[in-house]
């Protein structure tokens, strides 16, 4: 009964439909950049290792992964173009209110990042026989810089929406007063670092997972083993770093958006010595939790570095805090996956280092973790973005005030079209990646030309 009511309400509501559409778009989009931002640097590493050693195994690894990169990049580009239009089609109030700030940040992303990566991508993918080797490596470097710059600008804008600074309001419109304060707003450095490392983890687990899959399918070659080792080693370094940066990011959020942290921790009443809840069912109607599994004082200890520190509860922000359950659960999913990653990366790396050969159970575990980065990244973004509600720009503009006047039927129509398209593309993507991995198993170790090159390289 409740569900039918909710559903009919949803369908008649442009705001809710637009939110679902934007969430679907951005969730679909982030899957691909979160791979390519870091994968490009790993590709550059393979290419440089090849340039330095002449060992064809690095080129083999590069060749396989550059195909995955190209496909992933294309999906990122096309889903990103969709985003740039949706600001206007679905959230006109957003640009009308904060366009003076959001506009230039997006503009710098296009100017400094998109053209750089798109143009040099052509040379990186198709130019290896047309340009000197150094120029090709340089092109790969430019693509890597471009993708990271893109992350820089878009995360700056997102962080500004979370923690806006450096502006003044005149007649309901935001005007910039200090660009430095806008770009480097308080939450930006933490969010950027957190996202870049998340990308590193997503790419490294993808690489490890697919390489392990190839080895399990009987691939006798060196390249997947090199890629597996590289993926697990990167993950082993980045997971603890991510725990550390994530903690700093949490402390920053606690300072600037306490209502978001209260929802993450499921704290209703302001408390000294709040427990860390391993599990609970937050109930917004009764404003309390059910089935709590608490660890005493731990939340206070983490957030204030004092077991009896104060955490302000949701009741202090009534009517002005995000929906609790989605933030609460998404946070636990993110942290849970993070811990699994930590265990997998360390045990896996230790195992490879000790035994030199990989056992089937370990390979299977790594395969199971192939797309763990996607889940953790999405969960993390849900914490961040649902946690920003009811605001679109904290304290400046609510999501409801920014929505389009377009009829719900039109939004419903476009939403259905996008959902069908995205479901189809996601399946096609996963299917194609699997196919590429299987095809790679059949390829010979090296072609004759490569071995000649290797021996020459070794002599030189």
């Amino acid at each position: 009964m409740l569900e039918t009511l909710l559903f009919s309400n949803l369908l008649s509501d442009t705001l809710m439909l637009s939110r679902i559409q934007f969430a679907a778009n951005i969730s679909f989009h982030i899957l691909f950049p979160t791979i390519t931002i870091a994968l490009c640097w790993i590709l550059l590493y393979f290419k440089v290792r090849f340039d330095l050693s002449g060992n064809p195994v690095w080129m083999r690894a590069y060749r396989f992964w550059v195909k995955v990169f190209a496909l992933t990049f294309a999906l990122g580009v096309v889903s990103g173009i969709t985003m740039s239009f949706q600001f206007g089609t679905n959230w006109p109030g957003y640009m009308e209110t904060v366009g003076n700030i959001a506009g230039p940040l997006l503009g710098y992303e296009v100017l400094t990042a998109f053209f750089l990566e798109a143009t040099f991508l052509g040379i990186m993918l198709f130019g290896i026989k047309r340009v000197p080797n150094r120029v090709h490596t340089f092109a790969a470097l430019m693509v890597a810089i471009g993708t990271s710059l893109s992350a820089f600008w878009i995360l700056s804008l997102n962080s500004w929406m979370q923690t806006p600074t450096g502006f003044e309001m005149r007649d309901g419109v935001a005007y910039p007063t200090d660009w430095w304060a806008i770009v480097f707003n308080p939450s930006f450095p933490y969010r950027l670092a957190h996202m870049l490392i998340a990308s590193g983890l997503t790419a490294s687990f993808l690489m490890a997972g697919i390489s392990a899959y190839r080895i399990l399918k009987g691939d006798p070659k060196q390249a997947p083993r090199v890629a597996l080792r590289t993926g697990l080693a990167i993950a082993a370094v980045l997971t603890p770093l991510q725990v550390f940066v994530g903690d700093l990011h949490g402390l920053n959020t606690f300072e600037h958006q306490p209502q978001k942290v209260a929802a993450m921790e499921g704290v209703w009443e302001t408390e000294n010595g709040a427990p860390l809840l391993l599990f609970a069912l937050p109930d917004e109607a009764q404003r309390r939790n059910h089935l709590e599994i608490p660890v005493p004082k731990l939340a206070s200890l983490i957030l204030t570095h004092n077991p009896d520190g104060e955490i302000r509860g949701l009741n202090e922000f009534e009517g002005n805090h995000p929906p609790v359950a989605p933030v609460f659960f998404a946070f636990r999913v993110m942290v849970g996956i993070g811990l699994l990653m930590l265990a997998c990366a360390w045990v896996g790396s230790w195992h490879l280092w000790r035994n030199r050969v990989s056992s089937p159970w370990m390979l299977k575990t790594v395969v199971a973790m192939t797309f763990s980065g996607w889940i953790a990244t999405l969960a993390g973004w849900y914490v961040s973005e649902v946690g920003r509600q009811p605001w679109l720009v904290t304290g400046v503009l609510t999501t409801a005030d920014a929505v389009t006047p377009v009829a719900p039927a039109n939004v419903g129509l476009s939403l259905l079209m996008y959902l069908a398209l995205y479901a189809f593309l996601l399946l096609a993507y996963l299917h194609t990646i699997r196919l590429m991995a299987r095809k790679a198993v059949q390829v010979e170790e090296f072609e004759t030309a490569e071995i000649v090159h290797f021996t020459e390289g070794a002599k030189a």
Binding site: V78, F85, G88, T89, P92, N100, L106, G127, W179, A428
Partner: protein
């Protein structure tokens, strides 16, 4: 540097115009190649060559669209909101088209062989959906978002016209980049598309003068008319000259194979200048001028400094990329 808001608005509408023009030319030819793609199962070799001819460029070409929409959003936010909410459904359809062709390009090279033809057809369909919806939006836009049957008809004609114009530039791109049998067919495509483009340009000119009295006055006002009427004259000369040249292509030693492409660029520049001259300074015809729509001077100032540094760099490395892939198209390998 301290420019006032009115000057900044003019500078930015110029930049936006440049971005739209470059987009229409660059993505125009790769969309056109997509539309022209033959879809019979036994024509796979042709499809491979045609797609290889645009492979290294399509991604950067599409970025000009993002830049154009970006400038509209940065410099004229209220116009951006107005235009995009008015064009809600056609924009969604265009995006679906762009998504389909973008991914089809990559999937075709990596999918199982029996799916390759399906992805090629998707590529063609995606290209056509994109160009039809762009033309439709252009038609609705220049008639000031009036939703009556006459404007709908005009928009539908514009949809076909833009698609044919893109096929025209795409075909001349193929004349430049391909050889032998495919090149000969591209010459034929270019001739047919050129003639239909001619009809399209004439009908858009006449309709524009007929439905917009102030546009009529502006074009025929002496003494300015003596100069601006050069624009349509140049356009028709280019179309005519191209038709005559194409009749004699390919020549021995493949001489003049790049001239048709250059002439079509000239046609595009003329058409674009004509439209810009008709409507400047209105950013939404009949409803909003650039000065009403412009955003804060401090924001435009901030982005202009960056744009002046970065746009020359973009043009430089774009030129470098075209230089790297100069000459006839060779087989495309993801090494």
């Amino acid at each position: 540097m301290n420019l006032d808001a009115d000057v900044l608005a003019t500078v930015f509408v110029g930049l936006m115009g440049l971005a739209i023009l470059v987009y229409a030319i660059l993505d125009g030819y790769d969309l056109g190649v997509g539309i022209l793609l033959p879809v019979r199962a036994d024509q796979e070799a042709d499809r491979d060559t045609m797609i290889a001819s645009i492979g290294p460029f399509w991604d950067a070409n599409e970025t000009w669209l993002v830049l154009a929409v970006g400038i509209l959003l940065i410099a004229f936010p209220s116009a951006h909101s107005l235009i995009l909410t008015q064009l809600y459904l056609p924009v969604a359809v265009m995006l679906a088209g762009l998504i389909l062709r973008g991914v089809a390009f990559d999937f075709r090279a990596k999918a199982a062989l029996d799916h390759k033809l399906a992805w090629d057809r998707t590529f063609k369909a995606g290209s056509l959906i994109t160009t039809l919806s762009q033309g439709y939006m252009l038609g609705i836009y220049v008639t000031g978002f009036q939703w009556n049957w006459a404007n709908q008809l005009f928009a539908l004609i514009a949809a076909l016209g833009v698609s044919v114009a893109y096929s025209y530039i795409g075909a001349t791109w193929l004349v430049l980049k391909t050889e032998a049998d495919l090149q000969r067919r591209a010459v034929q495509w270019a001739r047919s598309a050129g003639r239909i483009t001619f009809l399209g340009v004439v009908s858009v000119c006449l309709t524009n003068l007929w439905v917009n009295p102030h546009v009529f006055d502006r074009w025929l006002q002496m003494p300015l008319a003596m100069f601006v009427l050069l624009i349509p004259m140049l356009c028709f000369l280019a179309l005519l000259g191209n038709d005559m040249l194409l009749k004699r292509l390919p020549k021995a030693g493949d001489r003049h194979c790049g001239v048709p492409f250059a002439l079509v660029i000239l046609v595009f520049v003329c058409c674009f200048s004509g439209l810009a001259f008709s409507f400047f300074p209105e950013v939404v015809p009949g409803q909003m001028t650039i000065w009403e729509a412009a955003s804060a001077a401090e924001s435009l100032q901030f982005i202009l400094i960056g744009a002046l540094v970065v746009i020359p760099a973009i043009l430089l490395y774009t030129a470098f990329s075209y230089w790297v892939f100069r000459g006839k198209t060779t087989e495309l390998h993801y090494h």
